[in-house]
Symmetry: C2
Subunit: 389 residues, 2 copies
């Protein structure tokens, strides 16, 4: 009993954490519950039930399947479902008629052929990356509806009646889902994408701001910054897929807040890839934080100031850029930080160039030189990011 | 007309390329067509249609929705769908009875409450990363079936009849999908995962094998290796999501080929993250291939041999490891290549340590030193990969 009690406590803690990490999750769950209950009761009450018959269950199904976390995803699914049902219904109706004309023996063969050809073709089309990104669900529903309609074996008038009911119920379901999704605490994929872009840059900034000090800090000397906060940038490395799906969702969304309809969402992909370029350099830098080789004091004395300055100014510039993105204002002081960082780099290059070293073994300066060189690279990455804003 | 002709040719070329890149795509499309046609005709022919009535359409729906590219994904979806339908059906039946007992007025309220609570809870559960990875589809179907059953308003005996039909048709659909998926040119997610792990390492190996020569090559001198073939490693950087989904699929698969059921698929995730660690270093190295700063000849003469040797032996070791993974044999000569590479590194370190430089300005040696240092890092990454096999 002790053990099971501990497990329950552990589980409750996890649930609480999941909700606290992103309270929108709780909202979303309640919204889904609400939408489904609305449509279900719709379905339950007699007058409507008489009118739509069994077709009414399609409304419930549509809500369950279409309701997604963000507005863009819900809209995309709803539109996909509606359009695909309509098109496939019309095509299925045509196929069914054509098959009926060919006599009793030819009918099943012709129908089988139609279904086979359409299912094969559309399944192949789903492999196209562009189609997969935006219309995957629609293509699935297209196959589904076509098969159901063409093979159903209803008479023509029955079928028209059914098609009418089906389309209306799916419309009711989609509209309910979209309505609840937009009207109650909407979650915009566009906002999420925008924030993701900003926080990713901010995370890099946080790392770089403290990197210089951390790198030259002697063991046991001074307060170490919380290491965990420096490692935040790791999530940037694998952000590509999330960005891509958010872009696909955001493109379905109407204008909202600061974003107009047809906001250049694709731009965020270019932007994200520049950010990741920078993150890969930062990851390489991170490998030198706990280097075994100690930089000789004379070299350290020579480069420490410039290096620390370069890194911290880079960090400030990146944080400034992140803030500018968040607020959608032109970055105020980012370029001045960048200039300071570049001046420090110039300074450092001059020192390295003029101060002909003697009596130093190269092995000992390896980490310091590498870090310097990687920081040069980060500067050029940051410049590209600043230009892309 | 000229333009539209060009567009059609372009489109045909794309289709051909998509098919040639992975011929299994064509197979898959045909398989889906076949399975759907089978079930559709099943549905079309009278005797069965009489027996199952409208429920037969659930068989078609199940095939369309369950059939996925790999065996693991199909099995996972099929099991999820079957189990969720069964459980939710039983629970929905119970809820419906309970609501009936509470009188005519209380029934819709109680039903609404049940639906709301269940939909909200299950939607929240879908946010748990573990649940999302393996049971997302099942949870969706759970909500769907529960709502349909509990709200349907059928009488008890009707409902039992319907439940029986529904479960049988879903079973027929799932079995058809799984049967066609496994029996005709099966695509195993496990195989794909295994090959992905091997090719990712191989791509790093190819880069490193040629990196040393490329780096020290003077402009215009000698044949440049096809640059595109060196850039293959870029895909490794973003392989995480693909690996994770393949692992989730592979866990549903029964034993096949060289893999037993419950093959330690999760191990591939650890392995993949080590490979990516290595890839980040390689990405940093790649930045120095077109460096502007020329290494002074005396330094280049000192380090070129060791550096080139280190890099090419690393490349060979990685390629050997990739081959060993592919064949599932212990790597034969990988460790000897690794030792050679480490010897070259030791040699280089000795040179750097003993040859006290004089009259050299540090700026000019920055790229060379950085590359050396990154290669040291790659060595330790490679060692970790070799250990993890």
């Amino acid at each position: 009993p002790e053990r099971s009690k501990a497990k329950i406590v552990e589980c409750a803690r996890k649930i609480k954490k999941l909700g606290q990490d992103d309270p929108r999750r709780v909202n979303h769950s309640v919204k889904v519950g609400l939408a489904i209950t609305l449509v279900s009761l719709f379905y339950y009450f007699e007058p409507l039930y008489d009118g739509f018959g069994d077709s009414a269950m399609w409304a419930v199904m549509t809500v369950v399947v279409v309701f997604e976390f963000s507005v863009g995803a819900t809209l995309g699914r709803g539109l996909n479902r509606g359009l695909a049902t309509f098109l496939a219904g019309a095509l299925g109706f045509g196929a069914h008629r054509l098959a009926t004309l060919s006599g009793e023996k030819g009918e099943p063969m012709l129908l089988g052929l139609f279904v086979f050809l359409l299912a094969t073709t559309v399944t192949f089309v789903r492999f196209f990356p562009r189609m997969k990104a935006r219309y995957d669900y629609g293509l699935l529903i297209f196959i589904l509806t076509f098969c159901l309609i063409s093979v159903s074996g209803y008479r023509d008038d029955e079928m028209l009646d059914m098609a009418h009911k089906r389309v209306s119920t799916i419309l009711i379901g989609s509209l309910t889902a979209v309505f609840v999704c937009i009207c109650i605490c909407p979650v915009w994929a566009g906002d999420d994408l925008h924030n993701l872009a900003a926080t990713n840059i901010e995370k890099l900034g946080i790392f770089l701001e403290h990197f210089g000090v951390e790198f030259f800090r002697k063991p046991g000397e001074g307060e170490s910054i919380n290491k965990a906060s420096l490692q935040g940038y790791k999530s940037v490395l694998n952000s590509k897929n999330m960005e891509e799906s958010l872009v696909n969702f955001a493109r379905w969304e109407p204008g909202h807040g600061q974003f107009k309809f047809r906001h250049p969402w694709k731009h965020y992909l270019k932007f994200g890839s520049l950010t990741r370029q920078c993150a890969y350099r930062v990851e390489a830098l991170n490998g030198y934080l706990n280097s075994d080789i100690k930089t000789p004091p004379e070299i350290q004395g020579m480069i420490q100031d410039s290096c620390t300055k370069m890194s911290s100014e880079l960090g400030k510039a990146l944080k400034e850029l992140a803030l500018a993105i968040k607020r959608m204002t032109p970055p105020s002081s980012a370029s001045s930080h960048l200039v300071k960082s570049k001046n420090a780099a110039k300074n450092l290059k001059f020192l390295l160039y003029s101060d002909l070293c003697s009596g130093i073994n190269l092995l000992e300066v390896v980490p310091a030189v590498t870090v310097t060189s990687l920081l040069f690279e980060v500067i050029s990455c940051t410049e590209k990011i600043a230009e892309a804003i």
